[in-house]
Symmetry: C2
Subunit: 456 residues, 2 copies
Amino acid sequence: MQENFQQTLEQIFELIEEKKYALVRTELLQCNEADIGEILEEVDEELGAEKAVILFRLLPKDISAVVFSYISSDCQRDIVNGITVKEVQNVMEEMSFDDMIDVLEELPANVVDKILMRTDKETRKLINQFLNYPESSAGSLMTIDYIGLKKEMTVGKALSYIKVHGMDQETVYTCYVMDSQRHLEGIVSLRTLVVSDDEEEIEDLMHEDFISVNVMDDREDVAQLFQKYDYLALPVVDKENRLVGIITFDDIMDVIEEENTEDFERMAGVFDDSDKDYFNLSVGQHIKNRLPWLLLMSVSLMITGAILTRFEALLSQVISLVSYLPLLMGTGGNSGSQAATLIIRGMTVGDVELKDAGKVLWKEIRISFIIGLVLSALNFAKILFLDGQPVLIALTVCSALLSVVMFAKVLGGMLPMAAKKLGIDPALMATPLISSITDMVSALLYFILASLILGL
Amino acid sequence: MQENFQQTLEQIFELIEEKKYALVRTELLQCNEADIGEILEEVDEELGAEKAVILFRLLPKDISAVVFSYISSDCQRDIVNGITVKEVQNVMEEMSFDDMIDVLEELPANVVDKILMRTDKETRKLINQFLNYPESSAGSLMTIDYIGLKKEMTVGKALSYIKVHGMDQETVYTCYVMDSQRHLEGIVSLRTLVVSDDEEEIEDLMHEDFISVNVMDDREDVAQLFQKYDYLALPVVDKENRLVGIITFDDIMDVIEEENTEDFERMAGVFDDSDKDYFNLSVGQHIKNRLPWLLLMSVSLMITGAILTRFEALLSQVISLVSYLPLLMGTGGNSGSQAATLIIRGMTVGDVELKDAGKVLWKEIRISFIIGLVLSALNFAKILFLDGQPVLIALTVCSALLSVVMFAKVLGGMLPMAAKKLGIDPALMATPLISSITDMVSALLYFILASLILGL
């Protein structure tokens, strides 16, 4: 199937080169909208925005709207810059409401203004309201295209209503029952309607113990509700419990992907607040996203350096101590990241909660003690027999190794939980920070133990 | 809402303590099945398996089956051990087919045998077939509870069929049109049926250019199809294009979560093939998951140590060189992980492809050159003015720093792509490995530059 797609792509590139646009159109119309979107992005990237605009104009209005909602914001901008405001307007009108809002959020302000000028007052007000929801809120994920029913309706009447209005909605599979003031009273699935008799009343079929979210709820919390309850859609209400819109599972899949990406990046010390992909970020933006954390970490690495300087006298007496520093620091960092990653991820998916801190502590102490012992024993033998160092050196290195592994794992387990308690994103407590701290502590511990054991 | 849940939980714990089980039942039945599952898990964990079994027995048969599919496999095992095989059998019969298979996969073989003995031959054969699909395959995610239609049917007839059979199926929102040999000919959504006239024929309404997956396809690829096309369900066919089952989006949400967790863990050098959560893994299993990678990394850290030993003579001449080692190694590791994480994630979500290797290389060279310059300039000033070191030492450290940052970022960008090319999981090329390699290279580069610049 993917191979077929590659073939189609190559064929379309050839046809564009030969300027056989009628054939390009025929080819395109045989593809799924998501695939047309991908083709459009490839054309935009490889052959330039002009060709992408030509391709886009080949599409029928209804298809072009769906395709437009699939492509990246950069590609959207290229298209918008190449077509007239009237054409943009046409595309917008065919799009579902939530996709339209997503597009408007990414477009330059002057284009948005031009589009808004051409819409009627009512729509303009609604669009402005939606554009004002914070990006991290449930409101920013909503659509207003849903089926609203009244509880006095019979199943037959509800189905006739859906028959007329069903095609324009984001989903018809969950319907929302409201009173005359739009207060949400219940939800009923299309499945229930279809298996029930025409004379039954909605009131007797609807679920009244539904779950809803507030427009200002955090979208990450909304995603967790979807994952827990396996819903297709969730209703969004305002403070007065009036239905404002719905969120569907497909938008949530995107949220989950974005949130995971953010966690991966933060755990590696990359701070990108743009949702842009690797290639769409300029060199300057990449530097802006990466340099601050490296600078911060280099301060802590300087402190570790200062600790080494402080023990220069000791080091110059037993220079061979230096060669075990990488082992201590590296193993400390790696041990700490393992624990930190497991706890950060555990908290994200809900397996680990703040009240479990004691259990985490006790578990990490036992794990790290055994891992530390195994690593120390192996290294003791290696230092003694392979490196030919005196017993006291081996003892110094290995007691430091055991302490460092235990310290690192306990720190790795506790720091993300402490962060969450303080309202800081636990993902910040990952490898770079943990290994910087364990570097410092390794150096200190090592030299203190060396002074004691070697009597220097 | 979450607060309400906490309250309910506490209340139920109190009622259990007072042995007021009739009231516990009333409380439970007011909750959603997913919430009852969470309560059951809490009881199992805090009050022991016996109490969990009592709670489970309080539930009506149909609800207990749904709840059973929500709880963790450990909790499932506790329940199964506490109830009779006949009771297990009853629960299984009420469960949807794919949930039942999931449960059977986790149960001990003797219990599975007892259950299979009590089912009819047909079902037993089907269950055995499903149990044999590899865990990573599309087959293992399938359910057989779907609506199958014939293309000669009218919409009215199809809707009557759904009216009778709709409640027992996993989903009714996508229906599957097959010929008499079960070859999949098309799909039609319930939405289309509901908005169409009763006399229309399925043949004229169904989509024939549907996307299907094969039973043996990798579940990660299936998840990507769901994310790309926003489907509710996908049909699964065998080699002869006969419909074997369907996969629904809720199972895919679980796959996405598991795959992300696996990536997070692998990127930190934790190898867990069990899908168990942090607390359900014993101390021994945690050690088994973490120790191998730490051992492997300690070998490379020993090599770095050996490099330091090799340059001991140089070091004892200019002992102050030692204090800049942490800065070089740490910054190298952090720079490399940033690039590696961005590329690994980019490949997972499909933003970065193997053919982009040249573009990644060129981008990372520019980014790392500027970041390296900034870091070097700042450190040059610090070493000269704050530490009071000679210019040549500052020059040595800073030229090493620039080279290390550039090397680390290019390595971080290229290594995951090379891994993918070779069929190795790119997630293995993350922090621990990258920082081990940059540690070695930092040490080597540093001392070679020192020998050259300081003329030692």
